[in-house]
Symmetry: C2
Subunit: 150 residues, 2 copies
DNA sequence: ACTCCAATGTAGCACAAGCTACCTTCCAGT
DNA sequence: ACTGGAAGGTAGCTTGTGCTACATTGGAGT
């Protein structure tokens, strides 16, 4: 096996590992903002219920997270009213969706079947750095140039 | 505003959402078990201190997580003593490392520079399904056949 | 205009993972 | 043999995300 222990597991304290709790909150924000964007485009409005179904969690969880997005000025809403994205929220949603699309299409171009590429892209998208994303985009472009997937 | 679409709309293909986030504890277990394995191979023994440096968190966080791994019989240890993997722990570590290696080498074969491939692989490895992993392995094999990683 | 119920909000619990502050243990060097 | 400092354990707080149970709201339909 081509890998030695110290090569890929540098003892650089912490840098290679995420700070789980902190990062996760940011990922969640992105996921929700992206979901709001999707739902608004599809349904016209986005309600707590829509989000709770989309994310597969209870409405309680959703409304707490929406409250945080409100604090962060990513969404605006009032009690019992639909949820809209602010300009900042739209920006974040667009960036997230772009990233997601690249990862998703990259997986397809790799030959991963669509039913697995979707969930995998959801999980992966938050963990690809700029260089990796760029390489993925190039790979997708290369494949689409020379024909269908692979 | 008449919302007549109160029934659930299934997610569109390609937007299937990530599962419950309680899988997260399992990811942590894998990361720690892999780290213990790495450290034992490198240093001979693995201490709480080594883990806290490796993971970039305080020793308190480490010892709480180690206690959980103990419950799950993935490691064995005693107070103030080094941490060893059980047979189950070794198994899990081996599986995790295999997965990690494939993702890491795949990123390299894509042309991602090593200093970014490491952290990205850490994040990505837990979100790669079997089909994706298989495709990645094939891609790596293909690249190593036709020459070095670009 | 009222009423009923789905949607939403609130209270309060669990648990993971982060921290600081403080206490205990072990062992290396005298 | 002693002891001081590093390693590790414990207490207790914070935040994030999940839940159930219960209270409130608003709008659809009578």
């Amino acid at each position: 096996m081509a890998r030695t222990w110290t090569q890929t597991r540098p003892n650089r304290p912490g840098r290679a590992f995420r700070k789980v709790r902190t990062d996760h909150a940011a990922e969640t924000a992105q996921d929700y903002v992206e979901a709001v964007s999707d739902i608004v485009h599809r349904n016209g409005v986005c309600r707590v219920k829509d989000l709770s179904e989309h994310m597969g969690v209870s409405h309680v969880t959703v409304s707490r997270i929406v409250a945080r997005l409100l604090d962060e000025q990513l969404v605006e809403t009032e009690p019992y009213r639909p949820i809209r994205l602010t300009a900042r929220g739209e920006q974040l949603a667009a960036a997230s969706r772009r990233r997601h699309d690249i990862v998703f299409r990259f997986l397809l171009s790799l030959g991963v079947p669509g039913h697995e590429a979707g969930p995998d892209a959801e999980g992966i998208e938050h963990h690809v750095g700029d260089a990796t994303l760029h390489r993925m985009a190039e790979h997708v472009a290369g494949c689409e140039e020379t024909g269908a997937a692979r």
